[in-house]
Each structure stands twice: as structure tokens, then as C-alpha cells.
Amino acid sequence: MSHGQLRGANSAPSQRSLADTRAPDEGDGVDTSPDISDSIAKTTCYMCACRCGIDVHIKDGKVRYINGNKDHPVNRGVLCGKGSAGIMQHYSPARLKKPLLRTGPRGSGEFREIEWEEAFSIATERLSKIRRTDPKKLAFFTGRDQSQSLTGWWASQFGTPNFAAHGGFCSVNMAAGGLYTIGGSFWEFGEPDWDNTRYFMLFGVAEDHDSNPIKIGLGKLKARGAKVVSINPCRTGYNAIADDWIGIRPGTDGLFVFALIHELLKAGRVDLDYLLRYTNAHVLVIQEPNAADDGLFARDSGGNPMAWDRVAKVPVSATNSDAKPALTGNFELDGRRCVPVFQLIADRYLQESYSPDAVAERCGVAADTIRRIAAELAHVAFEQAIELPIAWTDWAGRRHETIKGRPVSMHAMRGISAHSNGFHSCRAIHLLQVLLGTVDVPGGFRFKPPYPRSAPPGPKPAGKDVRPMTPLEGMPLGFVCGPDDLLVDDVGTPIRIDKAYSWDAPLAAHGLMHTVIRNAWAGDPYRIDTLMMYMSNMAWNSSMNTVETMAMLTDSDEAGNYKIPFIIYSDAYYSETVPFADLVLPDTTYLERHDCISLLDRPISHADGPGDAIRHPVVEPDRDVRPFQTVLIELGARLGLPGFVDDDGSAKYRDYADYIVNHERTPGVGPLAGWRGKDGTSTGKGEANPDQLQRYIDNGGFWHHDFADDQRYYKMANRSYLDFAENMGFIPKAEPIVFQLYSEPIQRFRLAARGHGRVLPPEAERSRIETYMDPLPFWYTPFEEAAVDLEKYPLHALTQRPMHMYHSWGSQNAWLRQITSQNRLFVHNRTAAGLGLVDDDWVWIESINGKVKGQIKLVDGVNADTVWTWNAIGKRRGSWGLKDDAAESNRGFLLNHIIGDQTSADANGKRYSNSDPVTGQAAWFDLRVRIVKCAAEEAGFTEPQFERFRQPPHFEPSPDKLSFGAEFRREREAARP
């Protein structure tokens, strides 16, 4: 493992085997050396999004045991609660067995089994008609898909722009907030420098991404005595071990961060040198109100942004490394007033409205606490700065004898993301990091390759021109740089069914999967024919407003036809969404399939080097199921999609494994970066290697490249790293990546709202665009909070998955569900007392969108204005192989039922998706509720209840008893003399 780290993550002397591991002569007949497995297959976990390396021990063709792969860069031998419960996922009784065709009404669960051939011909006939007529009538949305580079490319080859995965529900505020600012992101795209940081700030729920790396990192911080500060309304999980827990009010993190920035600016505790070298702080912004270029950068004739040389007193190219750029002041360029970005920053955040005293009440955090945190940040960043004795050279060729670092790091994820102000809050945190000079420095937050990329990264979303039988000109998802890149028609109507990249959600880099069902149902912006989905529980916990969503899926027009005419769904399990499909394509479990964790998608890189990985079949399926990716490739071939067929029309790829090895996105660049070239000696770019998968298997299922010491930090401006990144194809050219504190692409939208440019928002959208497309981050009240009567709905309501279920299908897992099969609503003791509630009471949780019933648990560790619960514990009866008396469907509840999927109507009567106005990120943390004790006869069971799903053909009732492992022991004992 890299840079002197031990192989195993938990290999402290007190965690190693005994010095002498010979069994003592106890004489008690215990077999201390039982045989464990016939073989060990090293593959990649899929119990969540973390993608750890696992060693699967196989005994007699059965999975005996799964443990973490010590060599793997993600988990280095450890494994989380989900990973070790993978056996129960694999052997789940809820696994689908054969393709299904709906026979009863949609949503009933009445199906008949069909052969794969029939399934393919139904799908091919339907889709090929769509492709011949209007490809966008296919909406293809995948869920927790780890093959988006394939699925997105498939959509592109099909010719539909209507593709996304569930990032719009999950992460896009973080992805976009980061990628438009620093060219990287928290999420899985970066990580704190766990070995060097001394002060770690954790914002919001972060138990989702990255699961094990963060846990390993927290362990390191604790072992080193570094300070951990958590900003989270709930004191659970990681927050439990924080030295400081700031129980902030939901949705106010941005404001809190601005107050920190205010304090740091006021005290002159910002890293000016860093700002000058790596950011656009010195770039001149045109200040000519009403001009078409107001707020854009002053550029020279070559299009380069300009700065003001404070010594020479002349404008210079902002990238001129010899210049002495000004950070403050007012300058005139060609008769136009300009100011440096940093002046705008100072002007905004030094305002008293951002002072600790001004924000304290709103944030629920004492002003003194804010001041203390600001002082601590400054102290650690500037008084405890570190230097690694490693020489490196920057992009301009300047040699630095040491690598300087400021050991303050931050991480944020769900808690920031899932608010309607999440994009700007995320940008606020990045701004804070950059002002302190802590991005990609020792002790700070570090990029994982292929990041950083230019902010925003290059490719723009394709789909402007949708034509029959024609692939899109690029991938459906990308990054817009201004209104010209939007996917809207001449009158501003969205081109995509989810309205991504429209005026509703201009920077929707992950699409808006959460709007698809409503939009398709309403025919807004148009009707579709087929909705194809993969691995996403849209009829339950992956949708907001579940009750109405289910109604929309089953609603029909006057003629009795379903408003969403055809639904194809692929899942491995009998989830709540399967019964709503017309055609069900049964997927395999993660131990039965090939996959690639690709640098083209969401890689598993480490800040110390890029990596990718594969899954390969460890056990054979005992059912008539096929991996969805293989099915998609065959479907592509049957449809004759370019890229999926050879010139003679024959299938280009046998299956997904064949695709992984032989597909080239651009010449020499394929899904996997390791062991390329005919002989496997190339890395990154190279010809397809027929032996590539075996090389991965031989290496433990993954490929990882370790950076040289001088490439590990300052990747945004590190010559050696940038050259490497160019060679690998991470970036088009080895040029420095400049952090965009002020975002010019966002300003372009604002200008459009003022009537400048070619593509203009409809009149009704202009003030919304003007307000939210602010080139500098700002804070506003989350939409639901701003719209509802706060007297009536006085509480914030949050939902997070327990760590042992995050991003996994936990509730049908026989082991995990024993840990949590009923969720409680956690209520602060004081709040409960005020409402006359006591522990274990049953309450109605009511929002403007509906009400749901659950049982409360009183706690001390929660913001007093906030209630919260574990998400997706509640299950619908008849799903997941659970029995009718299962706690999940009797006492567990789903908060999604009462989270609206639309905002309240605005002055024009328009209801937007309940999303961030910039990125379209679902705003499910904005929920406001009241809680009311239910009547005595209503206690003890959850509501609403839904009709029980019928079971698919040949579904055996789930067993009354599991004795997993007894067979291994029997066999062992039989073999003993």
C-alpha cells in the first residue's frame, strides 16, 4: 500500500495476531484449525456505493464467509456491517427467478413467468418502434447504478436524452457544487488527508459516501488525537465521536459557514498567496450594470481572463505567473469598471448580515461558538501549518523545496446536499476551504484522480438534437457553461422529460430522476412511451411523495390506457417497484456478475493514486436471471444500436465482460485502465488486452497506481501530476486547474435573466434565475420552510439510513433487519415535553403533503427543532420476501410518504420540483412537520397501509428458520477422524 501505510487498515500492534499463533495444548478437543474454504475469490462488494475489495471464501460451491481485502485501496481489509452481511443478500428469498410479464393490474404483483427470448422480443419490438419514431419517448433511468458509463452510453447510442441515475436524488448538489468551484468534489471524489490533518470538520449526514474510507480515516484521527468537529442536527454515527458537536438547525449550514468566513476575513486570516496562485480571486470582473457582459471576466483578445498588476499598474493575463496581481480595488479597463473577484468576496461576506451575531439564532448555534470555531480554524491553518520535505514543481515551472500544508480538512455530503439551498451551501464550504488554503495540500482536503478537472469539467450534455435512428452527439449528462448549453427548445420548454438542464434546473449534472414519474404521468413537457428503470425503488423509498407516485404509476386515461404506457424494470429482488412494471428483467446478485468500477464513471481512486476494479462471478446463479448490463448489451445489439453491432449487424459484444475488455470510448481508452495493450504493459491508454480481466483477478480484483511523492499534492497546479493526468486521459491538456470562487458560467444565466444572450429564460422564470444563479455563494431559506406556516409546522424532519443499511437493500437482509426492523421518530426530550409526549408514544407526523404514523423515541442529542428517523425501514407488505407480520410493514414507517415532490405554487401558479433551483437536487431534507399524539386505538401500528402485493409465480414463502453455516460444520465434523 502506498506511502508507508500498512496493508491492513487496522493493523496496530494491538490488532495483530498473537506473537505465537500455535494452538496451545488445551486438550479440550476444539478444532482450532478448521478448513475454511476450497477457494477464495477476490472481487468487489456491492452492498453499498463504497465498492470495497472483498475476499469471498467458497466452500462446496457455497459462500462460507466474506472479509475485506487487505490490499485493496478502498477498504484495506476492513469491512462494514453491510459487507459482512452480504451472504444474506446473496441467498435472499426475495431474489427474482425468471423474467416476468404483468398479467394483473399494474401494482398488483400479478405476473406470469416468461422466457428470456420472449422478454427480449417484447422489449426489442417496443424500443425499436420508439427509436424509429421519436427516441426521447424512451426514458431510461437507473438507480444506484455502478455502470453509468455503459448505461449512459447506451442511452446516447439509442438516441434518447432521457437518461440519468439517482444522483439527482442523492448527490448532485455536492458534485456540482464542487465541480463548478474546485473541479473536484467531496462525495467520493476527494478525501481529507487523514494522515496529516489536525482539525476535521464534518457537515451533515456523511455515513453514505465513502463508507469505509471515512471510518478508517476517523480511526486515524482518533489515534492521532486530531480534533473532530461535527455540524449536524443529529448526534448519531460519526457525530457520536466528535469532540465538538454543533447541533445546527437543518438547512442553515451555508449561513454558519458564511459567518466563519466573515470572522476569518475580518481578522485577516486567509491565505492570500494560495488565493493568488490557485484561484480566480485576482481575476477582474466587469462591473457595468445593464451591460451584456456585466459580471463576466475581463478578458484579453485571446480570451484569457485578466488581472490587475498592482506594481506595474497595468492589466495582465491572470495566468501570468510573473505578475503581481491585485486582490482588491477598482480598476478601469478600456473605460469599463472592473474589480477583482476577491473584492466582491470581501464586500459580500464582510457584511454584518453574515456576522456570527446575525446568524446565531437562525442557525441555532451560539455566536460565541461560531467565533470559537473560526478562531480554531485560523489557529490550526496558520499556526500549525506543516511542511513535507518533498520538492515539487508547479505548472509554471517554479520549483518548491517543500510541500506546504494547512492541516484543516472538511467533508460534507447528504446533509448539505438534500436541501433546496444545498448547491450554494456546498460552494460556501469549498470557499471556506480555499480561503484557508486547504484544498489538495498536506493536512487538507485532497482530490482523488481523475479529479481535479477544469471547473466545470468539459463535456456538455448532449440531446439538443433528437432524431430517429440517430445517436446523440455525446453523453446525456454533462456540465453546462451557460444558457447556450441548456437543453430547452426555442420557447424555453425542456427537452428532457426530467427537465434537467432547463430553466428549472440549469446545472442538473446528474439529471432529476425524482421528477420522471410525475412528468411522464402529466405529459409535461411531453408524453413518453416506455419508462425503463434499473435498481431503483421509485415506487417506495427512492421517491418523494410515495403515495401519489404509486397512483401516477397506475393512473390511466379515459380510454383505460396507462398514462405511462409501458414500464420495464430490472431488479434482483422483489422490491416495491417490481409490481409496477409491465416487464421485469431479473438481475443477478453481486456475486454472480461481471462489473467494472471504471475511471470513466465513479472510480475508486485514492488521493495517492488512481484505481479501478472489477466484479467477476464467484458463484453461478441458480435461477434464470441475467446481469442487467449483459441484457442491455444484447438489447443494444438486437436494436442495432451503433456501437453495439459490427458493420455486418452482428452483436459486437458477447456480454458485459466482453464489453469491459474490448470497448474503447476513445482510442485506447476503455472501461478499465489497468493492464491495457496486447501484452498488458500499458496503463491508462492502450489497446484492448484479451487477458485483462484475468490480470485483474490475479491482482485481487483491482488495479491501483501509486503516485510518486511529488505528485501527491497541489494536483491542480502540479506539473508532474498534470502531465500524468494528461497521459492518462483524465484531462485534455496539462494546464492548471483554477478554483472558481466566482463562477462565470453561473453569471451567464443571470445575464440571460436580464435579457442578454441568445437563449433567454421565459419571462416567468427570470426572477428565479436572477435570484438563484448567483456567481458567488449565498444563503436563502429552504423553499418549504419559506412556504409553510411555521407556527403550524414548527419542526424540521430529517431521515437518514442507519450505517448498517446505507445504500443497501437492508431491510430484507435476514441479519441486518434483525438490527433494525422498526424505525422510531427521534424527538428531543424538551420538545416532547412541550408537546406532552412521552417515550414510546405513537404520533402522527404531519406535513403539508400528508401524514404518517410512527412511534417516538426521546433523545437528548438532536437539535430541539428537529425530529428524525431511520429511512427506508418501512416496507410495503408483500415485498422483499418479508412475512405479513414483519415489523417493517406494521410498525416501521416511511417518511417519504409526506415529503412533497413539488414546491408550493409560486405567484404564477407554477409548482416546481421540490428541488434545488440550480441543480435540481431533490430537497427531501427541507421537510417541515408537526407531530400529534395519536388516539389510543390508533397506537401500535403504522399508517398509511397499502394493499399487500401478490407474490410472483414460484415464490416460496420465506423460511421460518435459518441455520446458515450448519452445513459447513457438519461437513467439517464428518471429515474429522
Binding site: P24, C80, A240, S958
Partner: protein, 244 residues
């Protein structure tokens, strides 16, 4: 033989760091997964998909709120067999099924001798033993006796499954009878404590208390921030800094 050994050569056990445990349940399922096919296999689950799901587990993680004058704190608390030095669960056993190994101090159940009277579970203050109603015998943590000496595992893997899995490094393993061992030194350094010491079971496993309640609490001696004292305020300061 349920009389206790007068002396054990080693005192193998676990140390659990409550300052670091995030309650992720990794040790819980890793334990379940190893042991359901291990020495005491199976760890039967009754009604695994129904309303009365109840399985045998050797390791459970609770969470608590600890509220003192210094404030409140959430504490995740793994609970498993402590392999006590004077375990009454062993001495109450009428059949000799429960025993403490003289070599390493591990407390085990010999299933073939167990009559399922459950008295040992009554005698254990810690709730470490769980009854397998299907097999009719008592089951408990073996300290992975079938891992720590297992020749079929790589040497580095010969640690209890819970320790191997723990992502935050909150679990430690070793000989607590040897004051020079890394684990004993960790206990000494961190002020490890016994659970329910007043009952006199002399648990081998130790718990390291959260540092928030100790002098180890991480703090940053940061002086309060003062506004810059430059002409022109902050912007003046910027200019001055850049001119230097």
C-alpha cells in the same frame, strides 16, 4: 470441568475503544458471519423474515446517551463475552459444558455436554450468552478460537473476526495477562475500565472511555480572532500583505 483454572497461561481478550466506535455494526455482522459457520455453527435465526425475528448473535452494539455536567454525548457500545477471570457462567454449569481454558483463558461452551438449562446465561451479568432454541444449547463468543490459531488462515488474519472487520480500529486483541503486550499498554495508557467491577467477575476485556470525559479531550488553544488593525480595515490589510 467447571471449576476454574487456578491460573491461565494467557489472558486473551478484547479492548474496545468507546472513543472511536461509530456504531457501524461491522463487528456485529462480521462476527455473525464467521461464527455461523464456525466452531459453534450455526447461529440460528428464528423467523428471519417475520415479525419475531430472533437470532443468536455473539456481539451486539448498543447506543447510549451519556449526560454529565460537561454535556451530552452519544456513545456506541459493543457488548460481547468479556472472558472473565472468575466467570460464574462457568462455575454454575452443572455438566461441565461451560469451561475456561487454562491455556489462554477463553471461556467456551462444549455443545455436546450442554443440556440447555440456561443457568449460565442467568449467571452472566453482561448478557454475553445466547440460547439457540433450535439446537437446544447455549452459545457464546469463542474469541474466534477457530481463527486465532488457524493454520489455514494467513498469519495476519489470525485475529477475531470483529477486530479484523472494524473500520475505525476501535477493537483490539491480545494477551491482557502480559503487561508488556501492546494491548495491555493501550489499556494502561488510556485508562481502560472493567464493566461492573463490583460484581467481582474480573472481566478480561476492557473498555476505553470516551476522551471527552478525560484529560485527553482534543482542544485547540486558539486565541480569539481580532479584527485586523490596518488602515482601511480588511482591504487595507490585504494591500499591506501583498506589498510585503
Amino acid at each position: 470441568m467447571t471449576c476454574l483454572p487456578a491460573h491461565t497461561d494467557k489472558k486473551l481478550g478484547l479492548v474496545i475503544d468507546l472513543d472511536t466506535c461509530v456504531g457501524c455494526q461491522a463487528c456485529v455482522t462480521a462476527c455473525k458471519e464467521w461464527n455461523t459457520g464456525g466452531h459453534m455453527a450455526p447461529l440460528t435465526d428464528i423467523d428471519p423474515y417475520g415479525g419475531d425475528a430472533d437470532g443468536v448473535w455473539f456481539n451486539r452494539v448498543h447506543s447510549y446517551e451519556h449526560i454529565t455536567e460537561m454535556g451530552g454525548r452519544t456513545v456506541n457500545f459493543p457488548r460481547s463475552c468479556l472472558h472473565c477471570e472468575t466467570p460464574a457462567c462457568v462455575t454454575v454449569c452443572p455438566t461441565g459444558a461451560s469451561y475456561k481454558r487454562a491455556s489462554d483463558g477463553i471461556v467456551l461452551v462444549d455443545e455436546d455436554k450442554c443440556i440447555g438449562c440456561k443457568l449460565c446465561s442467568w449467571a452472566c451479568p453482561y448478557g454475553a450468552r445466547e440460547f439457540d432454541t433450535d439446537v437446544g444449547v447455549m452459545k457464546k463468543c469463542t474469541l474466534c478460537v477457530d481463527r486465532i490459531y488457524n493454520d489455514n488462515l494467513a498469519e495476519e488474519d489470525r485475529v477475531p473476526a470483529c477486530v479484523a472487520a472494524c473500520p475505525t480500529s476501535a477493537r483490539h486483541f491480545g494477551d491482557l495477562g502480559d503487561p508488556a503486550s501492546a494491548i495491555s499498554q493501550l489499556v494502561a495508557e488510556r485508562g481502560g475500565v472493567d464493566l461492573m467491577p463490583e460484581l467481582g467477575y474480573h472481566p478480561t476485556n476492557k473498555y476505553l472511555p470516551p476522551r471527552a470525559n478525560t484529560t485527553r479531550a482534543a482542544s485547540v488553544p486558539a486565541p480569539a480572532l481580532e479584527p485586523v488593525r490596518a488602515e482601511g480595515g480588511f482591504l487595507g490589510w490585504v494591500d499591506r500583505m501583498l506589498s510585503n
